[in-house]
Amino acid sequence: MAGDKLMVYWDDTEKIDVVMTKLLKGAEAKCALLVDKDGHLIARHGFTQTLDTTALSALMAGSFASTSEIAKLVGEPEFSVLFHQGKKDHIHMCLVGDRSILAIVFDDRTTIGMVRLYAKEAAVELQKIFEIVLRKVNSSEEGLSEAFTNSAEDKLEDIFRD
């Protein structure tokens, strides 16, 4: 796991977009986030302008990580679905493959049953896409360019100063 790189390319995103749009429309949810288990946001869809998606991703990943530790303590390999119920908004999270989380935020305009149904479908489709992504990443050996790191260093000097 430690050596794996996560790279998402244009054509992959295109596929992910299709799945996510279908999910949102079908489940009538507010928004959907696709988050790496390490807390990186991979894709977001729907009404996310008012959400701090960066923090959300980190916290969701943390929440999922601690839940799976709890699972291990009670003798389960993993809890694959997490559901948070609020007064107005609810969040449904489920595993996609073994390294990403699909989180769906929805309200009372739809039902948990619908969300679960479409999430399940979407998770299967996304997993297929990720399998292809991983195969591609493992076969290719690319990274950031030298020019990137050089200009990044200048920018870092500029921002990180007292």
């Binding site: 390319y9 790496d36 991979i42 869809h45 943390g62 039902t111 149904l117 050996e141 950031l144 990180f160």
Partner: protein
Amino acid sequence: MVSINYSSREVSCKIVYYGPGLSGKTTNLQYVHAKVPKKTRGDLISLATDADRTLYFDFLPINIGAINGFATKFQLYTVPGQVFYNATRKLVLRGVDGLVFVADSQRSKRDENIESLNNLKENLIEYGYDIYTLPIVLQYNKRDLPDVMPIEEMQQDLNWNNLPYFEASAVKGVGVFDTLKMITKVVLNRATKKTEAPEAEAAPAAMAGVAEPMVQEQVGTAIEHRASTQIAPRNSASTAGTTVAPPPVSMDRPHRVEVREVTDEAGWGTQSAVSQEQTKKLQTDKVLIPKHPTLAEIESKLHQVDNTELDSPKKPAVKPKAEVDEAARSQFADAFEVPHVVGMQKSLKLRKKKKRFFLFRWFGGDND
């Protein structure tokens, strides 16, 4: 494992501050949060106990803006330093790209530093990291306190691999940015590979495959985007094509003034240009989903939901509401009786008035 997202053109790195309890990991983040320009950072999130000890992690996202067209983000985490939180500490380490080990320089903390370092090595090895190649920077914190150990001794204790180190006083901000600069540089350097050949002539083909079931007008726009980005990638900054730049655009071309930069300044909750566009489309209902399920399919699914899945909270909530209200009303009928309430208020007012009267006599009368 630096995360590179070619579609939204983002690079994201996870940096974790590790160290024994009370060594100043959270203080490091607080200082960075206070000093870094507001538009480059998000909120500092602390999952802490009532006594302000870190329970799970602190989290500070930093977005240094677009570099060569890639929005570069660092996610700074701290771990809970206390010994018995090892389970959560280990979870935070998952997927780490760079580590800052914050050691407490006081002589009395020497054993704790060593114990924490050993714990770090154990956890990293368990995750399958190579502790000799993973970017790690040491920070000898609290140099401003009396009875600190000399640097040579600390080096002997903690620096197992000739790692870069900094003396610091996180409370005063000394050495905090030096440490952060070093670790970010090392992380980015490590992500750099000599070969740089963004892949995929396959990309357009795959895209065409995806676009196939779309409705005509959408296909039209999709092709337009593709055409603008493929044929003239250098000019794409002036068109909408910037938002959908495909991998064949080489990263070191100085061609883009990114749309992303604008959205980044607006804050962390903003969307990437691509998904914003999609949201707009979604709002106006212009996006027609490829391979839309037929009515029969939807009906059969609904049927399944009704039978097998959880019951829907929406439907039963509408009709029986009036009935429920009625039942509650009859049960607590006496509480709805108006005269009773008014009587209470009256008697309260009277009592207040009496009280005021006596007080007036007690104090006011004497003065006269």
